[in-house]
């Protein structure tokens, strides 16, 4: 068997690079992180002709090798480090047929690194439609490469691409132009000082702010007979380099590419006329958001009820089928209810990720950025903050990572700080169950009250985010250059495969990420709820029997009294009642208190915690919701979850910072503990005050 070859997929954003990756690897892919940083690392395996296997890495999208973000640094670090285990045997540059000129800039840079480089021209099926024709032989000759014309949409050319990759040794490693001509003297000196190094690699090390291990910039600075240039001189040289490369590319394309504009059909401008219109653009955006929320609520209801019932019967079945004992009750009263608290939300979370994936894939998201920039700027944000704020409705973690393409540090910091206010999918479980308990059924112009409440909560989250951005913009004294470039890609019908893979991948990582925490917490909670110190817990049975001896209770009622007496005096009951005074003014009892405390790890733990607490010592087969509805307020009597306490809880979860993973990511992205700690303290204090006011006002 021959050895596995390393393939790096590189390309501009929006060229369909990920589609090529999906076409090559199918389901043989995994998504992880680069060590130490939060940049997503996608890799997969592809079988090539003649039994060769390729290990394929989908590198973050970049316009050039001049990195301006963490994601782009990853590309250069890999390409410059021959010792990296992932160092590519072949670089595959993915371009699209309509933006060939711009895509070739990156291509010529990579060629200068003398790595075998293959050019993929994607979306070849659109060539006729756009009136473009290419002279492939001419291009191959002058770009010193092999070209694979493919279409991931029509699934053509993939086999040819695979065989070109397998024969990577046939691809020339000669650069297409000599960029060093931009300043002969400077580069000659550089060559003399480091005769054993690749010239272009040295140039990148000098101009980039990246960690390169051994050959770092200081080492170059340290060489006495070599004069370095000032920062602004270097920038001017980089500009000259860019101009030089474009001259070369223009000359090649003048012959290699013909565009007959009269043949081109222009769908883009037709769509843009409406979607970026001064009035209709905003109306359509609002309608799209409305539809998404209504859909999340309506479509997911059926599968959710189904999952809820399955878990209730599973728990019941476990109790009956397995021998009685601590393990069975841990399983039936701790783990299964805890897990059901997360599995039940898969349908909704999947729908949410589905919509976000479609908005991104279709190219519509850039139009939203364009429409919103001016408005967001008033609040100290950027149009690009809209993407984190919208994807924050799925999860704040990827949303905060998505702020990396915001060019101004101040705008980016504010976006990071306010994003956790948006209603993430972890709040959804809490909202849904409380809404279904306290908001009446009924419809208002076709929308159910419950869906409207949910939408209101989303609006409150978004509104608070924007308002606090406004305050932060006034308070924070940070000077940073504000500039803004966003590519407006072509409209595309989203590829089913891409969308499906994104939804599966994201949902999986949500379920397993949260699942781990929830599983651990529900086991701990079960122990704390099933054991307790002292007389009151251990002799619960006798104490209750004596207390109610005159009341003639049925056996069932008596068992119930015993169970709740035990729970109240278990470890968890004691802790819960200790914190009860602080949360009573908000309308909660100690069980909710425990759920709130445990959900500081992650919000969605709330439902799982209540499920675990309520099922300990409870023999009935019942859904979480019914158990919550049956809870009685210990002091006032009547149901515990009333309109007032329900609204108070909803508002508390809307504002409180209850997610350790988000705090960790904020620390990483801002490189300081100051910001996450401020977030935790201010958001939680605010949540407490608002919930307090709401309950006192409504009760």
């Amino acid at each position: 068997m021959s050895k596995q070859i390393n393939v790096a997929l590189i390309g501009n954003p929006n060229t369909g690079k990920t589609s090529v990756f999906n076409a090559l690897t199918g389901l043989n892919q995994k998504v992880g992180n680069y060590p130490g940083i939060t940049v997503e690392k996608k890799e997969g395996i592809c079988k090539l002709p003649r039994g060769v296997k390729a290990h394929i890495i989908d590198l973050p999208g970049t316009y050039s090798l001049n990195a301006s973000s963490l994601d782009e640094n990853v590309v250069i670090e890999l390409l410059l480090n021959k010792n990296d285990k992932d160092f590519p045997d072949i670089a595959v540059v993915v371009s699209d047929v309509e933006n060939l000129k711009r895509n070739l800039l990156l291509f010529t840079q990579i060629k200068d690194l003398e790595i075998p480089t293959l050019l993929v021209i994607n979306m070849a099926d659109r060539m006729n439609y756009k009136g473009i024709s290419l002279d492939i032989d001419y291009l191959e000759e002058h770009l010193q490469t092999k070209i694979a014309l493919i279409s991931t949409r029509k699934n053509t050319g993939i086999d040819n691409l695979k065989s070109l990759i397998a024969n990577y040794k046939d691809i020339s490693i000669t650069p297409c132009l000599s960029a060093s001509e931009i300043d002969k003297e400077y580069f000659d000196n550089l060559r003399k000082a480091f005769p054993n190094q690749l010239l272009y690699k040295l140039w990148l090390v000098i101009t980039q702010d990246v960690n390169f291990g051994k050959t770092d910039r200081n080492e170059i600075d340290a060489v006495a007979d070599f004069k370095t240039k000032s920062k602004s001189d270097l920038k001017r040289l980089q500009q000259k380099e860019t101009i030089k490369r474009y001259q070369f590319i223009n000359n090649v394309l003048k012959i290699g590419q013909t565009i007959d504009a009269s043949q081109a059909k222009d769908l883009r401008s037709k769509f843009d006329r409406v979607l970026t219109h001064k009035v209709w653009g905003y109306v359509i955006f609002a309608i799209i958001l409305l539809t998404i929320f209504q859909a999340i609520y309506d479509w997911a209801e059926l599968p959710m009820d189904f999952i809820d019932n399955i878990f209730a019967s599973l728990s019941e079945w476990t109790k009956n089928a397995l021998p009685k004992g601590a393990f069975t009750s841990l399983l039936a009263e701790g783990i299964i209810p805890g897990l059901s608290g997360i599995v039940i939300f898969i349908p909704q979370i999947a729908f949410l990720f589905l919509f976000i994936a479609i908005l991104e894939e279709s190219g519509y998201m850039s139009r939203v950025v364009f429409l919103m920039d001016r408005i967001m700027r008033r609040f100290g944000l950027s149009g690009k903050s809209v993407v984190p704020l919208i994807s924050g409705t799925a999860c704040a973690i990827p949303a905060i990572m998505a702020t990396r393409n915001i060019e101004s540090w101040k705008e980016r910091l504010i976006t990071i700080l306010v994003t956790p206010f948006t209603t993430c999918s972890a709040r959804l479980p809490v909202y849904l169950i409380i809404i279904s308990l306290v908001i009446p059924q009924g419809r208002f112009i076709g929308l159910s009250y419950q869906a409207l409440t949910l939408m209101l909560l989303y609006l409150i989250g978004f509104g608070t985010a924007v308002f606090s951005a406004y305050l932060l913009n006034k308070i924070l004294k940070i000077k940073s250059k504000s500039f803004f470039v966003v590519e407006m890609p072509n409209y595309k019908l989203p590829l089913f495969k891409n969308v499906a893979l994104t939804v599966i991948e994201k949902t999986k990582s949500f379920v397993f990420g949260a699942g781990k925490i929830i599983l651990a917490i529900s086991i701990i909670l079960w122990f704390l709820a099933s054991y307790g110190p002292g007389e009151q817990f251990n002799n619960a049975e006798e104490i209750v029997k004596t207390e109610y001896s005159s009341d003639n209770l049925t056996e069932e009622e008596l068992q119930h009294k015993i169970a709740s007496h035990k729970l109240e005096h278990s470890f968890i009951g004691i802790t819960g009642r200790a914190i009860e005074p602080t949360i009573r003014p908000l309308g909660y009892d100690w069980k909710i208190g425990i759920a709130i405390v445990s959900s500081f790890a992650a919000r969605e733990v709330f439902v799982g915690t209540l499920a675990t607490i309520y099922s300990v010592g409870n023999d009935d087969e019942d859904t979480i919701k019914n158990r919550m509805a049956g809870e009685v307020n210990p002091i006032l009597g009547g149901p515990l979850f009333t309109f007032a306490s329900g609204i108070s809880l909803l508002l508390f979860y809307a504002f409180a910072m209850q997610c350790m993973s988000t705090l960790a990511i904020v620390k990483k992205e801002t490189n300081s503990w100051k910001w996450p700690i401020l977030q935790l303290v201010i958001m939680t204090a605010f949540a407490y005050i608002v919930a307090l006011i709401a309950f006192q006002f409504l009760k």
């Binding site: 316009y63 001049n66 602004s232 970026t276 920039d373 001016r374 470039v485 407006m488």
Partner: protein
């Protein structure tokens, strides 16, 4: 009068003559915003800001402030 990109009206085309390098990020140049290239203003958001451009076949949006550092010549395209 010296025109900049910020003076362009919707649907108008012009040639870029110079970019003031201290105010323009490299990334914008890499996306094709270079002297000699043709630029067309495709669409503007309310208040003419940001501006949605087609530069040399690349579609991108930039803020008006940035656009005012890009010099253009309109004559041939009016």
């Amino acid at each position: 009068m010296q025109y900049t990109l910020a003076h362009l009206k919707r649907g108008e085309r012009a040639i870029i003559t110079d970019v003031s390098s201290n105010h323009i990020p490299l990334k914008l140049l890499e996306m094709g915003c270079l002297p000699g290239n043709i630029v067309e203003l495709v669409q503007v958001a309310p208040f003419q800001d940001p501006m949605y451009l087609n530069i040399n076949g690349s579609h991108l949006a930039i803020r008006k402030e940035t656009a005012s550092h890009i010099l253009i010549e309109k004559e041939n395209y009016e």
